[in-house]
Amino acid sequence: MSERLTTNLKIRRGTPGDAEAYDVIEFEFEAGQSVLDALRWIRSNRDASLAVRYSCINANACKECVMRIDGRTGYACTTALKPGEMLIEPLPNKRLIRDLVTDTLPPDERLA
């Protein structure tokens, strides 16, 4: 087994009307694990209410898990975790729905 590393994910929470709030959640990982691996683990083991959009999990095919990671736009599924602290936020230029989910749908695919 490879070495266990630790990161603290500082995750922006809440809906548009809420005061700015972050949760900090510690996650142990192996080198190569992705930000999405951590977010999915959090949903299963710590806080199922965390909102995070994803579909294909691994393949970087669906492009659904786009978010802001350490101040840069990227895909949670292909961004490797790094030890220390990571800042996880929703896209700043899209309408916030909740937590890490923003309105990334084409306008004609929304339920009007």
Binding site: A31, S49, S55, N60, C62, K63, E64, L111
Partner: protein, 564 residues
């Protein structure tokens, strides 16, 4: 407030089959509502497929759909629904050319399409899009076509929770809008299930997040029948470790065959020969034999560190690796994987489900006005699917289901307001269950473990009974599991509805697997080794209240002259 929508054709799920069905139905003049529980055209299995598509286009060498059909029937171990398989093989070539016209960009050599010889085929029959891009190119092409139709309305983030009946027919659905938590009633003259298979019910799988058997559960609860539920295809050398992202976990297969990747146990010794399947330097151990050998080696404590086997290319010269893997080598490097210096770990993972909704040759299910398409159709692949047939069926069955559903556009719009109420009540009740305890999200993980441990590729009566007991215990907790209460984009609530579907579908698999006291194709009973001719039947499942009813059905055959 409950929102109301109505449409001629409601299509639930928007992978390749759902999109193809939408195009066909719209092309035949129907108004179409194309839904996805995630994002239209992006979720589901199609977009993840990096491999090949089988069709007798005969570009590399002369071919005929009858040869493709013969291979499909042979792979299915005598349980293939032959009329459905005939439709699949006969119409696949025209769909390949239709996709080419729409700009998918099949790989070419000179002036013809490139076709490769995939396992189980008698010749070079499988087209693809470079590099490992078949699924994304297919999804993009179909999305572009769907957008051309004004009579297709697309809605993302809409989770169908139940079908609604009127006069014994499918008449629409009730759905939950993920973003707002709002309930939606949808009246439809015809409904198409395009939700794919069920592989995300297993903890190791090659699926996207939304392959939890939803469409099977919707159909079952509404009164439709399922067929061949016991046949879940496992892919023997799915990627296990180190963590690799940006790639389909089933990607290693062609490289192993092409280059001779060695399968090794935890002691880095070859082991398949101990199970009657020596590598012999040819590396053509069949999928079922490789799966069995890996399982047994892990069981004996000789697995790799993460519980699988090693796959090593370390003996292959670097230049040969680069030639074979092409740009994939760089993707591997991004994952910290250098094949010249390290072996990777592989394990059998749930990959495809042969069973599904029972249909006739128009893809009508046993419930009037309800159709199925794509992987959700049961029967065409029998006990084991031939490689390359999954995308072919999204095209062929997509077009057929869309056309069949559109033919009902002339019927009257059903009034489902009254019939929808009990299902709206379920959404309202589930949406208001705050509180603590095990979450549905965690419960899904438990279900995946139950399925992997006792309803995987190798089964015993004791294990299957244990699984049914464990599933019943989990099902008993369902009414109390907390959903977090009302909030935007409540995935915990979505997980509750997903779990509700998985629980009933899991029981159908375990029940059918327990009854089938033989080993055939993807269903292997350790307590009943070997194929038993007396079991040359399909098993059909129906829901009666909360009880699962199982009965046998004769395999549908073609007349000999139709095969010749």
């Amino acid at each position: 407030m409950v929102q109301y929508l109505e449409t001629d054709v409601l299509i639930i799920g928007s992978g390749g089959a759902g999109m193809y069905a939408a195009i066909a139905a719209a092309d035949h003049g129907a108004n179409v509502l194309l839904l996805d529980k995630s994002i239209v055209g992006r979720s589901g299995a199609t977009i993840m497929a990096q491999m090949t598509v089988a069709a007798a286009v005969g570009e590399e060498e002369p071919d005929d759909w009858r040869f493709h059909l013969k291979d499909t029937i042979a792979a299915g171990r005598d349980l293939v629904d032959e009329p459905l398989a005939k439709i699949l093989c006969q119409r696949a070539p025209e769909k390949i050319w239709q996709m080419e016209e729409w700009g998918v960009g099949w790989a070419r050599s000179g002036n013809h399409l490139t076709q490769v010889h995939a396992p189980g085929h008698d010749r070079k029959r499988c087209v693809y899009v470079d590099f490992l891009n078949t699924g994304p190119a297919t999804a993009r092409t179909l999305r572009n076509q769907v957008r051309k139709f004004d009579n297709i309305r697309r809605v993302s983030d809409l989770i169908v929770t139940d079908l609604v009946l009127q006069d014994g027919r499918a008449a629409g659905a009730v759905a939950l809008h993920l973003e707002t938590g709002q309930a939606v009633t949808i009246a439809a003259k015809a409904t198409v299930i395009a939700t794919g298979g069920l592989t995300s019910m297993y903890n190791r799988n090659s699926a996207s997040a939304n392959m939890g058997g939803d469409g099977y559960a919707l159909g079952l609860r509404a009164g439709a029948e399922l067929i061949d539920m016991e046949f879940v295809q496992f892919f023997p050398i799915g990627h296990l470790a180190p963590r690799m992202t940006g790639m389909d976990p089933i990607m290693w297969d062609p490289f192993r065959y092409k280059l001779g990747g060695r399968l090794l146990n935890g002691k880095k010794e070859e082991f398949t020969q101990n199970y009657g399947a020596p590598e012999d330097g040819k590396y053509v151990v069949t999928r079922d034999a490789a799966t069995y050998a890996i399982f047994k080696e892990v069981e004996a404590g000789r697995g790799s560190p993460h519980g699988g086997a090693w796959l090593s290319f370390e003996h292959i010269p670097e230049a040969d690796l680069r030639a074979a893997f092409g740009p994939v080598i760089d993707k591997l490097a991004n994952n910290g994987i250098d094949l010249t210096k390290m072996a990777i770990e592989v394990a059998p993972i749930a990959h495809y489900h042969m069973g599904g909704l029972r249909t006739d040759d128009s893809l009508a299910t046993t419930l009037p006005h309800l159709f199925a398409t794509g992987e959700a159709v049961g029967g065409a692949n029998g006990a084991n699917r031939l490689s390359g047939n999954a995308i072919s069926e999204t095209f062929v069955f997509g077009e057929l289901a869309g056309r069949s559903a559109a033919a009902l556009s002339h019927s009257a719009m059903p009034d489902i307001h009254h019939a929808a109420q009990p299902f709206l009540d379920i959404i309202a009740e589930a949406s208001n269950r705050a509180g603590g305890g095990m979450t549905p999200t965690a419960a899904i993980a438990s279900l995946q473990t139950i399925m992997a441990e006792d309803v995987g590729p190798f089964r015993t009566a004791d294990g299957l009974r244990r699984a049914l007991d464990n599933l019943a215990q989990l099902a008993a907790t369902l009414p109390e599991l907390p959903t977090g209460g009302a909030m935007a984009f409540n995935q915990q609530l979505a997980d509750w509805f997903g779990l509700r579907n998985m629980l009933v579908v899991a029981r159908t698999i375990a029940t059918a697997a327990l009854a089938r006291t033989e080993s055939r194709g993807a269903h292997q009973r350790e307590d009943h080794p070997g194929l038993d001719q007396a079991w040359t039947y399909n098993q059909v499942v129906r829901l009666d209240g909360d009880d699962i009813r199982l009965f046998r059905s004769e395999v549908r055959r073609l007349a000999q002259e139709e095969l010749a």
